[in-house]
Symmetry: C2
Subunit: 243 residues, 2 copies
């Protein structure tokens, strides 16, 4: 069977600072990560090595490296002699991810509000613009991705790289959690929360930024339905045994 060959996009190409161009496996990992963020890859899906190697037109070596990266980020679950699958966080894990976010992010938002420069705020506003544009264009996946990334941008402003990387990881995993446990249909009406958050940061109002972030996260958290039985076998069971 002949397969589409994806032209590997140069991520962050043309960036003024011209940072070291990413390695091949990083590009593949980024690509897969993005696909998971945008819910184009559903939890539980098998990611065959040969298949991916074929798709990206690289050797299995590269694919394996990329999958290992994603596995360390807990976006992918590698089972010995079985293969790699898009991760299916159990309800307990989902709960923990959001608890951790509620612990780290409000504090980070506070710090960001204190440190944010004019340029930072401009960047955030531009980001929100893209978010709105994606929504208007009906590109739900991209909007979802951007909505997560805003949190990362805010963490970056706080300039605590270590904690930022934790948050980054948590947000990636949140994407899986949302894919599995989201309840409401009107998912993204919450973009007003982002607007207000950015406004608090612009005003250098740490208390307000912290409070808004906290309530935003509680809001998201409460929109999850974590009462499903802790099925361990991926989503197949759900698809068959009537949700």
């Amino acid at each position: 069977m002949t397969r589409d060959i994806v032209q590997l996009p140069r991520l962050k190409a043309g960036h003024p600072k011209a940072r070291a161009e990413p390695t091949t496996h990083q590009v593949v990992a980024q690509n897969l990560s993005r696909a998971i963020h945008e819910h184009r890859l559903v939890p539980g899906l098998k990611l065959g090595e040969d298949e991916l190697a074929d798709i990206y037109n690289v050797s299995r070596t590269i694919v394996r490296t990329a999958l290992q990266t994603l596995s360390h980020e807990r976006l992918v679950d590698i089972k010995r002699h079985r293969g790699a699958f898009v991760a299916c966080p159990a309800p307990k894990e989902a709960q923990e991810v959001f608890e951790a976010r509620e612990l780290l992010e409000p504090r980070t938002a506070r710090s960001a509000a204190l440190k944010a420069t004019r340029e930072d705020v401009a960047q955030l506003k531009a980001h929100i613009e893209k978010e709105h544009a994606a929504m208007d264009a009906g590109d739900k996946g991209y909007a979802l991705y951007l909505s997560g990334q805003l949190h990362v941008e805010i963490a970056r402003i706080a300039a605590q790289d270590t904690i930022t990387s934790f948050i980054e990881s948590l947000i990636a995993r949140s994407s899986l959690v949302v894919a599995l446990y989201w309840r409401r249909e009107s998912a993204l009406c919450e973009s007003h929360a982002h607007d207000r958050l950015v406004e608090a940061i612009r005003a250098n109002d740490p208390a307000e930024a912290e409070a808004l972030m906290k309530s935003h996260l509680v809001d998201l958290h409460s929109a999850l339905d974590l009462n499903t039985s802790p099925r361990s076998n991926g989503p197949l069971r759900d698809m068959l045994l009537g949700r």
Copy 2:
């Protein structure tokens, strides 16, 4: 040149629950990680692939995988076309690692104090026994390793896997920080802090456990000398330009 062949130890062998035995690259990664923890491998040291492959008597493929794992844990720095090196966290990073610990661990200690069972406490006490024994035997490296692992054990009792894995990562990195920035010579006199901490957990005294953990971490943090210039080239500079 002929080289010693390390018989790969079965880590966690004989564990009652008989969990899936680790893959080869996991064993290698664990081994290297342990060596870093115990300061047998100094920051900045080059970890050549062929060299390690020879030592562990496996192929470079395995070594590469292991190094990638350690790189994700930020214990190892992989430079493209240059190789893998034991990481040299900059003072800023060192600072952040301890700040993050001060944020996460006291809260976790509190939670552990609430949840600790009789068996948990017994395990902690046994752990401290080993710590003392290692100290008495003059095995500083092992004592150092154990002293970090106690924090991990406490986090485990709190049963928040997500945050525990963050803490695990931070403790590993702390080992590098200590190797680079430790000031006092009488490093490990602080084992009394551990005794008191475990006692608070045994007494199910969350407030006390939290306070003790906090002050213990502040104590460690303050024993670092982070005022050195942010040398980017590893420890060689220090060794030559008179510390």
